[in-house]
C-alpha cells in the first residue's frame, strides 16, 4: 500500500494563500462594518425594525468578509471541501435555529399566558 506523501515545510508554506495586504483589507473592512453598526445604534440614525435589519445585514456581511479574508474560505483548491461542509453546516443551522424559533413562537402563542414576559 502506498504511504502518504508528506509535504515538506517549504511545500506547506507555498500552499498558503494569505498575504499581508489581504489580511489588512479584511481587518479594515471588518473595522468599518463594526463602526457603522455601532454608530447607527448609538445615534439612532435609523428607526426600530429597519435598524435591526441593517445591523444584522452588516453582521452577515462582516462574517463573509472574515470568512474570506481571515479564514480563506473559497480560496482552496478544488474540490472545495471546506466550502461544501460550510454550506452543509448552514443548512443544519437554519433547520435547528429557525425550527426552534418557530416552535417556541407557536408554543408561546398557544399558551396565551397573561404573565409579563
Amino acid at each position: 500500500m502506498d504511504h502518504n506523501h508528506e509535504l515538506s515545510l517549504k511545500e506547506l508554506q507555498q500552499q498558503y494563500h494569505g498575504s499581508l495586504f489581504s489580511y489588512l483589507k479584511g481587518f479594515l473592512l471588518s473595522l468599518l462594518l463594526t463602526v457603522i453598526s455601532f454608530v447607527l445604534v448609538i445615534t439612532k440614525a435609523i428607526e426600530g425594525r429597519n435598524l435591526i435589519i441593517t445591523i444584522v445585514s452588516l453582521a452577515l456581511l462582516q462574517a463573509i468578509v472574515q470568512l474570506y479574508y481571515f479564514m480563506h474560505l473559497g480560496d482552496e483548491d478544488n474540490p472545495k471541501w471546506k466550502t461544501y461542509i460550510f454550506y452543509f453546516m448552514i443548512v443544519i443551522l437554519l433547520i435547528i435555529s429557525f425550527g426552534s424559533l418557530w416552535i417556541m413562537y407557536n408554543l408561546n402563542d398557544r399558551m396565551m399566558s397573561n404573565m409579563p414576559m
Partner: protein, 207 residues
C-alpha cells in the same frame, strides 16, 4: 507528483487521478474545519436560546439597563486586532521568521488576555449587582452564550501559550507550522462568533 501518493478513481471517466490531499497537513486542516463547523452549530443553539429567552427578565433589569456599549466596542476592537496579529504571525511563519512569529503571537496573547479581563470584569459587575446567571432566563441565556465564547477564548489562550513555548523549545518546523495554522483557524473563528454576539446580543439589546 509521482510515487507515494494515494490514487483516487474518477467514477465517471474511470481514470485514476492523483489525490494530493491525503497528507497529514490537509487532513488535519479539514478535520479541524469540521470541528469548527460543529462549534458553529453549538453557538447557533445558544443564540437561538437567547432569542427565545431574552425577554424573560422576570421583572428585573434587561439588556438596556445592563449593557455598556463603550465596553463592548472596546472588546470588539481588541478581538479584531488580535485576529489581525494572529494572521500576521502566520504570514511570518510562511517566511520562516521565527522571531517575528513569537512577537506577533505575544501580541495576540496580550490582546486576547485583555479581552478576557474586560469580559470577566463585566461579568463580575453583573454578578455583584445581583444580576447573576440564576436571576432570570435572560441572564441565564446571556451568560451561557457569552460565557461559552469567553471560555473558548480562555482555552485559546492556553493553547497559544503552549504553542508559543513549543515553537521556542521544539523550534519552527512542519509540525509547529501545522499547529499554528490550526490555531489561526480557531482564533479567527472566535472573532467570527463575536461579530454575532456584539450585534445580536449587545447592539440589539439596547435598541
Amino acid at each position: 507528483m509521482e510515487g507515494n501518493v494515494y490514487h483516487s478513481k474518477n467514477f465517471t471517466t474511470n481514470e485514476t487521478i492523483n489525490d494530493l490531499h491525503q497528507d497529514t497537513f490537509s487532513k488535519t486542516i479539514l478535520g479541524f474545519w469540521i470541528y469548527l463547523m460543529t462549534d458553529c452549530i453549538l453557538f447557533a443553539t445558544f443564540f437561538t436560546t437567547y432569542a427565545v429567552l431574552h425577554d424573560g427578565t422576570f421583572g428585573g433589569p434587561g439588556a438596556k439597563e445592563l449593557f455598556s456599549l463603550p465596553l463592548v466596542f472596546t472588546e470588539t476592537m481588541i478581538l479584531l486586532l488580535s485576529s489581525l496579529t494572529c494572521g500576521m504571525a502566520l504570514l511570518a511563519a510562511i517566511k520562516s521568521d521565527k522571531r517575528k512569529i513569537l512577537i506577533l503571537l505575544g501580541c495576540t496573547f496580550v490582546l486576547g488576555f485583555s479581552f478576557l479581563l474586560l469580559e470577566l470584569h463585566e461579568f463580575k459587575t453583573l454578578i455583584d449587582e445581583g444580576n447573576s446567571f440564576s436571576r432570570n432566563a435572560f441572564l441565564s441565556s446571556f451568560f451561557t452564550l457569552v460565557g461559552t465564547h469567553g471560555l473558548h477564548v480562555f482555552f485559546g489562550l492556553v493553547w497559544l501559550v503552549v504553542l508559543f513555548f513549543q515553537i521556542i523549545i521544539k523550534g519552527f518546523n512542519t509540525i509547529t507550522f501545522r499547529r499554528l495554522v490550526v490555531f489561526n483557524m480557531f482564533w479567527h473563528f472566535l472573532d467570527l462568533i463575536w461579530i454575532f454576539i456584539f450585534t445580536l446580543v449587545y447592539l440589539m439589546g439596547v435598541i
